[in-house]
């Protein structure tokens, strides 16, 4: 009975956070299949530690941190886990046809250093304030602002470069 109750509680948390974590994971790793694997792994860890996570003030932030940590070393970690886990084989994610602009933006995001990408996603997608981001990743607000500024500048430069018309040939 207690297990069923815990599962129900976790399922509610899962439904509430799934879309946000999947969106974040996608922005962090740049492709749906890896994002799906990551989020599956995050929820496995959340469920494994549910008695502790459920009592936290901000269990969403805890899940988000697990996601970010896994994303940093995702190849190394997931390869090991997949080789010995009983997770389903890597499932493909059906996606609607996305625009070239969308792909350009994802590509620009992937070209950012990991920490810059993380703060930009937390700011732009999660809507966290610089103070909240600083608290979540354990740094100062000034540093967060610096990383944000660099991330935005890199993306703007990257997109301008892609949208610039090709130079004319001079005869």
């Amino acid at each position: 009975v207690e297990e069923a109750s815990l599962q129900e509680e976790f399922s509610r948390f899962f439904d509430r956070t799934k879309a946000g974590l999947l969106g974040q994971a996608y922005l962090l790793v740049g492709n749906p299949e890896d994002a799906q694997d990551l989020v599956q792994e995050v929820y496995l860890r959340v469920w494994r530690n549910w008695d502790r996570v459920s009592s936290l003030d901000n269990s969403v932030a805890w899940s988000r941190s697990v996601l970010h940590n896994l994303a940093i070393g995702r190849w190394r970690r997931l390869k090991i886990q997949r080789s010995r886990s009983h997770l389903n084989s890597r499932a493909t994610v059906a996606t609607p046809e996305v625009s070239a602009d969308h792909l350009d933006l994802i590509s620009a995001l992937m070209s950012l250093p990991t920490i810059q990408r993380r703060v930009l996603v937390l700011r732009a997608f999660d809507g966290l304030s610089t103070a909240d981001i600083a608290a979540e990743i354990g740094t100062s607000e000034a540093t967060v602002r610096l990383w944000l500024s660099r991330a935005r500048a890199s993306i703007a430069a990257n997109l301008r470069m892609k949208s610039a018309p090709p130079s004319r040939k001079v005869r």
Partner: protein, 419 residues
């Protein structure tokens, strides 16, 4: 995508929108899978620990009892590889297209990808071969057909949600139609089973979902009890949905089509066709309009624009709606008798009359049609300019052609021939 003013808020908005795009993906992450994986992983860890302890004990016993053996760290030549994936046919292992095969069916998969079905009579049935082009006719590769043979008078419908995921309904008669799907660009196909008496009437796909209209048949002629099934594109898990209770579907002319989250059904009772629409992925339907025809094939190009190709008995009739199916306007093609409509977008469509020659195109949403070619052909356009066409020749033969100027000029496509 370039921020107009390069401002921070503009960059943030673009990142947020990119993340929101992910909500449209067909994710396969479920809480039940987490519980299941956790149970299996725990069991695996326990088994691994037990095995490790047992192995350690065995090694200790062996070390105590037997003289030290000579260990080989690296495997010798000829060792077998465990856990190999099952083999499937690839283009390199398929025979070349025999010269007596001729192209007969086009299936568009994306703006630059199409599949061409080639067929030929072999004995009392029809042999199939399948070709894939990823550059709309410039080059082709051989892929595996969903079946090597089909019945001569049987049905065959092939549709693709994207270049990778495709569905084919085929069978000798309504009572025996089967759904076969591929998830790897037709390298291999597998049968979808809905029950021992179930026959697949039709399938429709959007970018996200596939829908199968299935009917139970107690005998060759007696089919009733329609069911609608839905699966994520590429998924083998089909969810059963109820068909609209407002209509008795047995013996009616039914067509199903989908775009995004919206599904349409057209149900013809012999005199009028009811168009039904679902905006919740097939969970429920409501009748949105009625068309004076026997049956209407639905061709949505967005969630609001639908083109209809209707059979009125002796003639054909063509309609277009730009409000999701509530209202339909008649297209100015009445004198063309019967023909095929190939909508490319909400404003562009091609029309090929069957009883006369010519290819006609509209670029203004069907208000006017202009003749683009005098050839008699069936077409499948990937975009405004690039298309493939089956040019009808004498004795029922066809030749595959391609255009890159919107249908004004067609050049024959050389398919790989061989024995």
């Amino acid at each position: 995508v370039l921020p107009e003013d390069g401002s921070d808020s503009e960059i943030d908005r673009l990142v947020r929108l990119a993340g929101e795009v992910a909500s449209e993906f067909a994710w396969k992450v479920e809480a039940a899978d987490v519980f299941d994986a956790r149970r299996k992983r725990s069991a695996g860890v326990r088994s691994f620990r037990s095995l490790a302890i047992a192995a350690f004990a065995v090694v200790i016993i062996l070390l105590l009892l037997v003289p030290m053996p000579q260990f080989h760290i690296f495997p010798s030549h000829g060792s077998t590889r465990a856990g190999g994936a099952p083999q499937s046919a690839t283009s390199s292992t398929l025979p070349s297209l025999r010269s007596d095969f001729y192209p007969s069916y086009l299936a568009r998969a994306s703006s630059n990808t199409a599949y061409v079905v080639a067929r030929e009579m072999c004995g009392g049935s029809i042999c199939l071969q399948l070709l894939l082009t990823s550059d709309y006719g410039a080059t082709f590769e051989r892929v595996t057909p969903p079946a090597s043979q089909i019945a001569a008078n049987g049905s065959f419908e092939m549709t693709f949600a994207n270049p990778r995921d495709g569905y084919t309904v085929l069978g000798p008669a309504l009572a025996h139609q089967r759904l076969i799907m591929t998830g790897n660009s037709a390298k291999s196909w597998h049968l979808i089973r809905f029950g021992s008496t179930a026959s697949v009437y039709q399938v429709a796909v959007s970018k996200l979902f596939a829908y199968a209209l299935v009917v139970s048949c107690s005998s060759k002629e007696s089919c009733s009890k329609y069911r609608l099934y839905r699966a994520g594109v590429g998924s083998s898990v089909w969810v059963s949905l109820a068909v609209p209770s407002s209509h008795d579907l047995a013996g009616q002319q039914i067509f199903i089509a989908s775009y995004g989250d919206t599904v349409w059904l057209s149900i013809g009772d012999g005199g009028e066709v009811d168009v039904l629409r679902s905006t919740n992925e097939g969970e429920s339907f409501s009748t949105v309009s009625r068309i004076p025809a026997i049956g209407c094939k639905l061709e949505p190009t967005s969630e609001t624009v639908i083109w209809l190709n209707c059979d009125t008995g002796n003639d054909g009739a063509w309609f277009r709606s730009d409000d999701g199916g509530h209202n339909f306007g008649v297209l100015p093609l009445q004198g063309s008798n019967v023909g095929a409509l190939d909508p490319v977008s909400s404003s562009i469509a091609y029309f090929s009359p069957v009883t006369s020659r010519g290819l006609y195109r509209t670029i203004d949403g069907g208000q006017t049609f202009h003749q683009e070619s005098s050839l008699s052909l069936d077409v499948s356009f990937g975009n405004l300019m690039h298309g493939l066409g089956l040019v009808f020749e004498s004795q029922g033969r066809t030749e595959l052609s391609r255009t890159s100027d919107g249908g004004s000029h067609w050049e024959p496509v050389r398919l790989p021939k061989g024995n």
